[in-house]
């Protein structure tokens, strides 16, 4: 199929070393009218420096309140192929592993009903199938779900949880991130598909403090693997590293707590002062390994800057063992959602609510015990509340 529109600006973006999204759209344009017209519309955006998408309307599949982002062009007559251009969020498997068979199956469905364009993956983690019309949605869902695929989250709901690959290929994983992520996803199917929260709620699970899933910045609940006990040390491997690495400079001097020493070719760690930052382990993976008692820290609250400024998640549970059936964990999530449901305003994320109501109030509300790990430093101004039982009458 030849070119439907001249795209001199986009053509510039086919040049260069990095793979080109324009080339990708062109490949799809060989198959679908969606992609052909997308090229035209996008070229116009490039020319005018303006988006040509309208505010999305609500579209979806029967029985679900989310999983599809409605999208309409504001130039439907000029580019009829993208008059509708809805996104289908397909819940990815934990860890983003695929067999080629499975991938081909999903792509086949998408070639049949959609634009032939995808995002692998969306920022939240979904397989994002990019561009179809309202009529095709039910068909796509039937084809997908009959083959074992389901939609991810959107709207004021639990969003698709995601994780780093954890124990599947990483020596540092302190928890089974993929198992937990799958468990959370399955456990809360209703909360994901039928938006009933004050606003969105995201989970991200990292196997260790390296946080390869950016959980601390992008998840209302961030679960980060960690340990108790002493870091494992193999002195012979330390000796090997000393041949290629300036251990004093790269490890000892960069340890944030200054709890390491390297003297007489022997590495020692004062584990009681280690904050488990992972720096030394990451640089000397053959020599050092996380301590023996494994679990996770749970942090709450991160989100993008709208409205009161970006948040990072903060510690609410310093240490929790995370093993099936994860009862304690699910109970906690339940309490948090209940408290949010009771007090949260419309479009108020959990982190913003806690900030508004006060962290101590939240802790009381969900029955967690105050712990110094929850704060970087105590309050500075001597204004604090007391309960009736603290007062002498």
């Amino acid at each position: 199929m030849g070119k439907k529109y001249a795209t001199p600006l986009l053509d510039e973006l086919k040049k260069g070393a990095f793979p080109s999204f324009v080339t990708e759209i062109e490949k799809a344009a060989e198959k679908t009218e969606y992609a052909r017209d997308l090229l035209g519309l996008l070229e116009q955006s490039y020319r005018e420096k303006l988006t040509h998408w309208k505010h999305g309307g609500i579209v979806g599949v029967r029985g679900y309140g989310g999983g599809v982002i409605g999208r309409y062009s504001d130039l439907p007559d000029k580019y009829p192929g993208v008059a509708h251009f809805h996104t289908v969020r397909v819940n990815q498997p934990s860890g983003f592993y695929y067999t080629t068979a499975a991938l081909r199956e999903v792509m086949g469905i998408w070639d049949k009903y959609g634009s032939g364009l995808t995002n692998m993956h969306g920022s939240t983690g979904d397989m994002v199938l990019l561009g179809t019309n309202t009529e095709s949605l039910e068909a796509i869902f039937a084809e997908l779900s009959s083959r074992g695929w389901d939609l991810g989250g959107s709207g004021s709901a639990m969003r698709t949880p995601s994780c780093c690959l954890g124990k599947s290929r990483c020596e540092w994983a302190c928890i089974d991130t993929m198992a937990l992520t799958n468990e959370i996803t399955q456990h809360f199917q209703d909360e994901m598909h039928r938006p009933a929260f004050p606003y969105k709620f995201k989970f991200k699970v990292a196997g260790c403090a390296v946080d390869c899933i950016a959980s601390i910045a992008r998840a209302d609940m961030s679960i980060i693997g960690t340990w108790k006990g002493d870091i494992g040390i193999k002195q012979d491997e330390v000796a090997n590293y000393s041949k290629t690495m300036d251990i004093q400079k790269e490890i000892i001097d960069m340890c944030p707590t200054g709890c390491m020493t390297y003297t007489g070719g022997k590495l020692s760690i004062d584990n009681s002062n280690c904050n488990r930052c992972m720096h030394c382990i990451a640089q000397m993976t053959k020599a050092l390994s996380p301590g023996p008692e494994r679990g996770a820290t749970i942090l709450l609250g991160s989100k993008a800057p709208i409205v009161t400024g970006a948040l990072m998640s903060w510690v609410i549970v310093p240490f929790i063992k995370l093993e099936p059936p994860y009862e304690e964990f699910f109970e906690l999530v339940g309490k948090i959602w209940e408290w949010w449901d009771e007090h949260g305003k419309n479009r108020e994320r959990i982190g913003e609510l806690i900030e508004r109501m006060g962290f101590p109030t939240f802790l009381k509300g969900v029955e967690l015990t105050p712990h110094p790990a929850m704060i970087k430093s105590p309050r500075r101004d001597p204004f604090f509340f007391w309960d009736e039982e603290d007062i002498q009458r």
Binding site: E12, T99, T100, K167, I216
Partner: protein, 357 residues
């Protein structure tokens, strides 16, 4: 259209175990160490002695099914039909048999895939929809990413930096990318207030929620037009009202542009996770290749590379030398916009007489 198969609901995604290569299933949770062999490949060794090689290639993230089929073909040939995507949208080919590694890498190169992204360099840019799909976009995302990664491709494929440099792009301040905690990030910003379409607003928007959407309380009811009005000097162009009410479009081709923030991170290594901070408040949108933006990012990377210690992330380097030095070394102009006047402004003011000339 043929009869549709029986739909199911609430089944969730397929269980990941179905997709794991056998060597991973066998050594699940039993990995011992890894070795980075090049920016394009690495090997993980299990306690059992088993190994898995990972070959990573770049992806524009916006992928056609055509390309995905091609990746599947490659994975079938060398990887027993196994591949995965990374959290930064690269593609990883998982090889259980050492002898397949080199042929795989050769084949990928021949097909034009770009190998890289592992270790201390610039991996793929986390980004968002932009003009490709979002009504909210103040800039495009994919085009910016392409322009930058073309410039920095060597840092993806072969050249190392003192530490990982994580770049992100968000096409508006909703920041669907990990912009707020990235080493370097671009975010599409507006510079002019929304324009009110009083006619359509009446029907399209709920007035109370429109008013309450504004973080600066710039919006108030306008009884005259049965719509709303904006106190212009209070508006910080965040576009949150437009998210809630389509009759308040804020896009402005001439004044929309790109802000650059730097110094964020999410890892806990050495220093705590950090927010990115404003380096340049506005650069004009100049598609298709945004040369001014690319040049500014290059300045940051060059300055960082020249000044940072090994293992030091951008934010760690900047905090060590101080922001006043960052501005001096990059030559970026320091403007009123750099000074915080939002929620936590006070905490950013210099409450010490110690700073560098």
């Amino acid at each position: 259209m043929a009869e549709l198969p029986q739909r199911q609901t609430d089944i969730g995604p397929p269980h990941y175990e179905k997709f794991l290569p056998p060597v991973i299933k066998k050594n699940y949770g039993q990995w011992s160490y890894h070795e980075v062999l090049s920016h394009g490949h690495m090997v993980h060794t299990a306690k059992s002695g088993d190994k898995i090689w990972t070959v990573r290639v770049a992806s524009p993230r916006l992928l056609s099914t055509t390309t995905i089929y091609e990746m599947c073909d490659v994975a079938d040939k060398y990887c027993g039909g196994h591949l995965r995507f990374t959290t930064r949208n690269n593609v990883e080919f998982l090889v259980s048999d050492e002898k397949n590694v080199t042929p795989l890498m050769e084949d990928l190169k021949k097909r034009g895939f770009l190998l890289g992204g592992i270790g201390d360099g610039i991996s793929n840019i986390v980004h968002t929809q932009g003009w490709v799909h979002c009504h909210s976009a103040a800039t495009d995302a994919s085009g910016l990413v392409k322009a930058m990664m073309d410039e920095f491709a060597d840092y993806f494929t072969k050249t190392s930096l003192p530490a990982r440099v994580r770049i992100a792009v968000a096409c508006c301040v909703n920041m669907c990318g990990a912009v707020h905690c990235s080493d370097i990030a671009l975010v599409g910003v507006h510079k002019t207030p929304p324009r009110i379409n009083a006619e359509t607003l009446k029907n399209q928007c709920e007035i109370p929620s429109t008013i309450s959407s504004c973080p600066t309380t710039a919006i108030s009811p306008d009884p005259k037009t049965k719509s709303v009005k904006i106190k212009l000097e209070k508006c910080m162009y965040c576009g949150n009202c437009y998210s809630v009410c389509p009759s308040m479009p804020i896009a402005d081709p001439v004044n929309d542009g790109i802000a650059i923030v730097v110094g964020g991170k999410v890892s806990n290594l050495r220093s705590n996770p950090k927010f990115s901070k404003l380096a340049i408040p506005w650069i004009p949108n100049n598609p298709p290749r945004w040369p001014e933006v690319v040049a500014a990012v290059k300045t940051i990377i060059d300055t960082y590379k020249a000044g940072a210690k090994k293992h030091e992330r951008v934010g760690e380097w900047v905090e060590r030398i101080g922001w006043e030095k960052f501005f001096a070394l990059t030559g970026f102009e320091f403007k009123a916009q750099h000074i915080d006047n939002f929620t936590f402004a006070r905490e950013t003011f210099r409450t010490t007489s110690s700073f560098k000339w």
